[in-house]
Amino acid sequence: MALNVPRFWTRAVEASVLVVAICFSLGATTPASRMNTLSHQLMCQCGCAQLLGECDHVGCPDRDKELSELTTNMAAGLADQQIMDAFVAKYGATVLAAPTTKGFDLVAWIAPFAVFAAALLGTILLIRRWGGLGIERRAHAAGAVAQPADPAEQERLDRVRRETARDDGF
């Protein structure tokens, strides 16, 4: 039985979404991976501007201390957010490697996607409007086909037709 083409693509998209969903829903975190994840969400406070999990300074006055605090907090059974809050309380907001998702910090996360969405929507609407204008223009041109064309305009139109008929551009 021949596969209906649009249905094939719909199924392909559904399968993709399913694979991604399965990947996202797998398993639980081990202490080592949790330590690794959390240490990459915090900054080393020695002034090296590196993530805590990547600070490579021998004799760094802060790295081992922070890692030790992280281990202690994890062993005490604190949740990730509680650990982060404890670090912020002790070192200030700059200890977090990225803005939080609360208050004004949320703007940091929303703005890029909002700008992208707005630009995408604007572009789509613009192209659709242009497409409509193109159809109107072609309809108008078809009605006026008997009109003698201006040679310069005719040359321009010919050039456009030549360019758009061939697919030799980048």
Partner: protein, 692 residues
């Protein structure tokens, strides 16, 4: 020599000011048709000659500074602070851009050099070149003013001026800069930054004189591509420097100054794509003008971020208070751009409109959209700490986790568009055409996902989703799809030529590329970008191990076992160094030796690591001698196994090759000659045509 250098800068400033003033007056007279005691054309020519003379004067100043470095003239503060007697010769040149005053002088000299070449080739289009030359001279006036009044590179040591003795030796070059890449990375980056002044000047000039839109683009095409190439190479060399010197196992840390170099690259790349729409369809004229304006402004912003210390950065080599100068200059440039645009925007009306959401034209537009969104994300992330401090009174950190979550998906979408765009026909497309062009890439995508899962490259780690691995698998899959699409494009065209000319497929591909170098050079660049993306995706699987290592102790990472065979020391006039000698074995067999090093620079008194790297296509074995544990006295070695890093540098080579291909003029298609009627005389035009 300090007096000579200062005098050269002053003369250069006077000449640039004359170029700006006389050029502006001459062009105004020409535009309005007013008469004057001197003919406007002659006045414009004197302005042009002043620009050429200005280049000679700036060259004199740059020479004076280099000469002072080589002769260890420590009466000049800059030389004292950035050089010393034992500094090796290549790094003596690097001293020119190791500090703020020197790097501003380098900027002015490069701008002078670009202007010199532009003014020598003015006969291409005298009037447009006059506009561009005058605008460039305006930029030059700014940089020379900063050099003369705010950051003089030839300032004498206050103690020496007061009659004190000269210091016996200088403070030396920053150890971070004493690495081969640092001799070429900053000039490359600056060639890119400064180079964008040229298309900017042409764009603004063309807008001022209401010049036909496509012509300035054709004139500046080579300038723009070469500039883009310099900036690309500069960014990658910087990445390699960070990788090989900083010793943290990575190459990109989303540092504000790294971001500052990346932003103009993104807008410049968008410009290179969208100008094709203007050339072919007369579309996106305003867009292109603003893209190049933005690119130039972003290069200025990059310098502002580097120099003014607005945001904290590891690139703190050359911070000062000249930020105000840059802010004022950017304000003036922006005002001029807006004013000119408002005045002349009627000239930029589009000739055609897009007709379909799914077409080559719209893919260019979406490509631009994504590139500019990426640029916005980086600008936003870079400036958000300042905004946050202003709004809520507390500074926040915007580091790698933010960019990885926001910029990486956008980057992957961009790679996806890289493959999709060229497969779409102009004007509009049909479902049938989409199916024909996209079946193979989609198959490649899913095969790659399955292969990744089968060989153990999975988007989860320790039972939970790992964002990095997930993005890596997506990147591999998209990269495979894009590569398949591009290769299919080559093969489709080569197949036609092969059938027409009876050439083999390789020869047909070569001929195909030569017939449309711009298109296929672009495809090669896309292949390079995809290879780079594959390399970047490898970072999700980095591994590292750190250990104190005594004699004959060993540590294992991946398939390698590192055994410490000893430690040794060396010294020269510039630095003392400690080496670890490590035998690396694989499967019980010794395969090579690595000698990570830690240096202590005598003049500056600063330590610096020199990483030992063994690179193979699968991964880099990256070993750092971190120092000695003060408690135990044992050396500490950190080893990384970084998959696919070599692909990043190889990708750059492909990008460079593709750019060169795109710069070569296309060969006239053989079929064009066949269209000439037999009765007509043979055409006298040469076989090669200029550009495409």
């Amino acid at each position: 020599m300090a007096t000579f250098g200062s005098f050269c800068l002053l003369i250069a400033l006077v000449l640039a000011a004359y170029n700006l003033f006389a050029g502006a007056v001459a062009l105004r007279l020409i535009a309005t048709g007013q008469s004057a005691r001197i003919s406007p054309e002659r006045l414009a020519d004197t302005a042009r000659r002043a620009g050429i003379a200005g280049f000679v004067a700036v060259t004199g100043a740059a020479f004076a500074l280099i000469w002072s470095v080589f002769t260890n003239d420590f009466s000049i503060t800059y030389i004292l602070e950035h050089s010393n007697r034992a500094l090796p010769i290549p790094y003596k040149f690097a001293a020119l851009w190791s500090g703020q005053e020197g790097s501003l002088l380098l900027w002015a000299w490069l701008l002078g050099t670009y202007g010199f070449v532009l003014r020598l080739t003015h006969k291409t289009d005298v009037k447009l070149y006059a506009y561009a030359g005058t605008i460039l001279s305006g930029i030059q006036v700014f940089f020379l003013s900063v050099l003369v009044f705010a950051a003089p590179p030839f300032a004498l040591l206050p103690g020496y001026v007061a009659g004190g003795a000269l210091p016996a030796d200088g403070n030396g070059l920053n150890p971070l800069l004493q690495y081969p890449e640092m001799v070429i990375h900053p000039p490359m980056l600056y060639l890119g930054y400064v180079g964008f002044s040229v298309p900017f000047a042409f764009a603004l000039g063309a807008l001022m004189m209401r010049y036909p839109g496509e012509k300035w683009i054709r004139i500046t095409r080579v300038w723009t591509m070469v500039t883009w190439l310099f900036l690309t190479c500069g960014i990658f060399l910087g990445m390699h420097w960070a990788y090989a010197v900083l010793g943290w196992g990575g190459y990109w840390g989303w540092d504000p100054v790294e971001n500052a170099s990346f932003m103009p690259w993104l807008t410049g790349t968008a410009f290179l794509h969208s100008v094709m729409m203007q050339e072919r369809k007369g579309m996106m004229k305003s867009w292109n003008v603003w893209l190049i304006f933005s690119t130039f402004l972003l290069t200025m912003l990059g310098t502002l971020l580097t120099r003014a210390g607005l945001v904290s950065s590891v690139h703190a080599f050359a911070q000062s208070s000249i930020g105000t100068w840059f802010v004022v200059c950017m304000g003036i440039v922006l005002a001029v751009c807006i004013f000119t645009y408002i005045l002349q925007r009627g000239h930029l009306k589009t000739e055609h409109h897009m007709e379909s959401l799914v077409s080559r034209e719209s893919s260019f537009l979406f490509n631009n959209l994504v590139l500019l969104t990426a640029c916005f994300v980086i600008l936003w992330g870079t400036l958000f700490p300042i905004i946050s401090e202003y709004v809520q009174g507390t500074k926040v950190t915007v580091g790698a986790p933010f960019y990885n979550r926001v910029a990486v998906p956008i980057g992957l979408f961009l790679v996806f568009l890289t493959g999709v765009g060229p497969l779409l026909p102009w004007r509009a497309t049909s479902f049938k055409a989409i199916k024909r062009n996209f079946v193979l890439p989609v198959i490649a995508l899913w095969v790659t996902v399955i292969v990744c899962l089968a060989v153990g490259v999975r988007p989860w780690k320790d039972g939970s989703l790992d964002t990095g691995s997930f993005y890596a698998v997506v990147a591999f899959a998209v990269a495979a799809a894009v590569l398949t699409a591009i290769i299919a494009e080559f093969l489709r065209g080569a197949g036609v030529i092969s059938r027409q000319t009876n050439r083999n497929l390789f020869a047909a591909t070569w001929l195909l590329t030569r017939r449309n170098t711009r298109r296929y050079g672009g495809y090669i660049i896309h292949i390079g970008v995809v290879v780079v993306v594959i390399g970047l995706a490898g970072s999700a699987f980095n591994r590292s191990i750190e250990s104190e290592m005594g004699l004959h102790s060993a540590m294992a990472i991946g398939p390698y076992t590192l055994t410490c065979m000893g430690f040794t020391q060396d010294s020269n006039q510039n630095f003392n160094s400690d080496y670890a000698v490590l035998d690396v074995s694989q499967g019980g067999k010794r395969v090579f030796q690595l000698t990570p090093e830690r240096r202590f620079y005598l003049a500056s008194g600063q330590p610096q690591t020199m990483v030992a790297i063994h690179s193979v296509p699968e991964w880099d074995l990256y070993v750092v001698y971190e120092g000695t544990n003060p408690d135990t006295g044992q050396p500490i070695i950190k080893a990384f196994l970084n998959p696919l890093v070599g692909w990043i540098w190889f990708g750059l080579v492909i990008i460079v090759f593709g750019t060169f291909v795109a710069l070569v003029p296309s060969l006239t298609p053989a079929t064009a000659a066949l269209r000439v009627p037999a009765t007509k005389p043979a055409p006298m035009t040469p076989a090669l045509k200029g550009g495409d």
